[in-house]
Symmetry: C2
Subunit: 418 residues, 2 copies
């Protein structure tokens, strides 16, 4: 029988060349975060459906993979069968919901505030398209239990250090605060309960422009005059020439000085601790779609490619909503897929010393292994191969998999460049 050998729709096989970048990036991020005092945890991919459908994860819940009940638990003869009747557990769609559960379950064992690292897989059944896969790595640090802006600063400084170590040296951090957006929206005459829905539309500004946002809000039944007032303010804020001009404008619009000061302090402190070639600005268009953000929100852009490669924000109410205990929380997430794609596009070189040691059938394999050990001791990554039938094809494939050097057992003094 000949099976289909493609990976499942929307998923990817990572071959050695790609894994080299992925593995290298993962290591650097993990090491940087550990140096900055974050602690790694790992939670299961499978979670209870009750948990996954609590909280404010909106669309992500709709995109959830669910597992089928097993054995006697699955009764397909039941009448009026519902999805709930046949499903048992779900695959997590992010690492934040499991983090909340795990922290709640282990609070007594963990330091407080708890600074976590999670680099792990999540699943969403998105329509397959470029840059979106159904099974992907998320790469998060979070601080649980610190309501001060020191948490945001600690996350941003540590996160930016990770980008720097990965070789990203031209970045812009765009910062906003959900409380500013909420105040602006209410000040334009909208109801307080509409803020999340209006934020979701405003979040599309990048894709559909301001007039697109207006159309959508009006179509959603909001009063045209209020909509125009809001987009007008939004436009004025977008065109500010500096962070200071933005703060002045926000002040003149009557936004709480405490919230403005919080944003300003985060921006000025992070600026001092970040590497050359990096900017941090206030940007009213940073909204972040999810319903659970309550305060600071931020996104990281690569200046060379103009793409968002990370982001995060404060979600102070998620614990309360999910498990009935109040724990302030902030997260910072590196867009791992974007970052590794850009590293490949930027040709960021991964240091390796791959060497192929080629032997003939009549060579003693013990001698081959002895030579292998010698080259390993000299720092090479050594793979032994029997002399191939089609040498050119063999050498070509080695090159395509990151091998630069080849040695034949017949003359081990001669290190050949591939």
């Amino acid at each position: 029988m000949k099976l289909n050998t493609n990976p499942v729709r929307g998923t990817v096989d990572y071959l050695p060349k790609e894994m080299e970048v992925i593995s290298y990036a993962k290591n650097i991020i993990l090491e940087t975060y550990k140096k900055n005092g974050f602690l790694e945890i790992k939670t299961p991919i499978l979670e209870n459906l009750d948990l996954l459908t609590s909280g404010d994860s909106g669309d992500n819940q709709k995109l959830m993979f669910k597992t089928v009940k097993r054995g006697h638990d699955l009764d397909l003869t039941k009448e009026n069968l519902s999805v709930a009747d046949i499903t048992e557990e779900g695959l997590r769609y992010d690492l934040t919901v499991p983090l909340v559960r795990c922290f709640a379950n282990n609070r007594e064992k963990l330091p407080f505030p708890f600074k976590s690292i999670q680099i792990d897989e999540a699943f969403r059944a998105e329509r397959p398209q470029k840059g979106r896969v159904r099974e992907f790595t998320q790469c998060d640090i979070d601080i649980l239990g610190d309501s001060s802006i020191n948490a945001e600063i600690d996350l941003l400084v540590s996160g930016l250090e990770a980008y720097e170590h990965l070789g990203f040296n031209r970045l812009t951090v765009r910062v906003n605060d959900r409380r500013i957006l909420n105040e602006l929206i209410v000040r334009c005459g909208f109801d307080e309960n509409s803020t999340i829905n209006i934020c979701v539309s405003l979040d599309k500004f990048d894709k559909i422009g301001l007039s697109g946002v207006e159309d959508e809000l009006i179509q959603n039944g909001y009063e045209e005059s209020k909509v125009k007032t809001l987009t007008g303010l939004f436009e004025r804020l977008k065109s500010s020439a500096s962070n200071e001009e933005s703060y002045e404008l926000l002040k003149s619009l009557g936004i709480s000085s405490e919230v403005i000061a919080s944003v300003a302090k985060i921006i000025s402190t992070v600026q001092k601790f970040a590497f050359v070639g990096f900017k941090i600005v206030y940007d009213p268009a940073i909204i972040r779609g999810q319903g659970y953000y309550t305060g600071t929100v931020y996104e990281i852009y690569d200046d060379d490619f103009g793409r968002a490669i990370g982001g995060g924000g404060r979600y102070d109410h998620m614990f309360e909503k999910m498990i009935g205990v109040s724990v302030p929380a902030v997260g910072f997430s590196i867009g791992f897929y974007s970052v590794t794609m850009l590293m490949a596009e930027k040709n960021i070189e991964i240091p390796t010393k791959k060497l192929a040691l080629v032997y003939k059938p009549d060579d003693s394999f013990e001698k081959v292994l002895e030579e292998k050990q010698k080259f390993k001791h000299r720092g090479y990554e050594v793979s032994v191969f029997a002399f191939p039938k089609n040498f050119n094809n063999f050498a070509e494939k080695l090159k395509n998999n990151g091998y630069k050097l080849l040695v034949k057992m017949s003359n081990t003094e001669d290190i050949i460049n591939l």
Copy 2:
């Protein structure tokens, strides 16, 4: 609402203390395998059910998690609904089946023979019990495309080096060959088609003893006299005092000299390249349950704890069966869960330099970050904390999470041992 915050039945949350061991072990294994010329790949957790139910994976298939069809694809009103009607994909139960698929799909891009590393999650809905979890890390190297015993030797030498680097220094490798078992079984008068079933019973020798194996075989309908002949031979082989005595006995039983020579050569060569404190022996009781093994099989035992902590073997027919192309294959798998558990039990020390830097609310957070940078440059992993209300409880939790040092902003010269 108060949710259940326990992880899903049969799964585990790994907290920082455990993750430190896991992360350390993963790194050492990966680096050792790379040094030995293996290349890392990563395949999706989700696979098509067609693929997962092909091959000879026996019980593992029964323990498979399946995902529910989504949207319009799921019709629960259909009559006589079967599991196939409602399921879409499965979670892989091992890394071998995905490896075969991925290699078949990317053969033109990969070096040949292909030496792969996979360290990744697999899922089996086993009845939860000590030492068995439903979501677990597998840690495999495989050589695809080499039919010579050089492949077995390369795998065993590399695998043993990984154990050595992890701090395991008293190991026994037990080697057998399925062809020996098959010849013995046929020689006792059994039918060639029964070899796999008989091997499955023999494999329980460790748990149920030789009389248990006899009972099971007789219950399964095999002739008592043949069964007794087989267990008699098995007992004689088990009591051999040395590898050489075993080879002699096998020879006298008429086992093909070619197969005996293959086992003997693997054993003698690996012995030469392995570290002190390690033994390699022929053991007729090493069988490995899976149906797909075709030649050499081996298991690694920790001598201090008498537990199997790894194993593998040759599976030359899996490609043929699954994708209709013949590719010889051998694998070596480290029992990652057992290894990390034993590392904890053996108190193998993970090198870390964790330091907590504690500040008061009126300390400037910029100054705190400056101090943090200084300690980082001195090689510490530095976590900043606001001065806690209950210092003793705070310090206790830090200690339990691997922190050994604490510095207060009020006197940064004074590094306090926790």
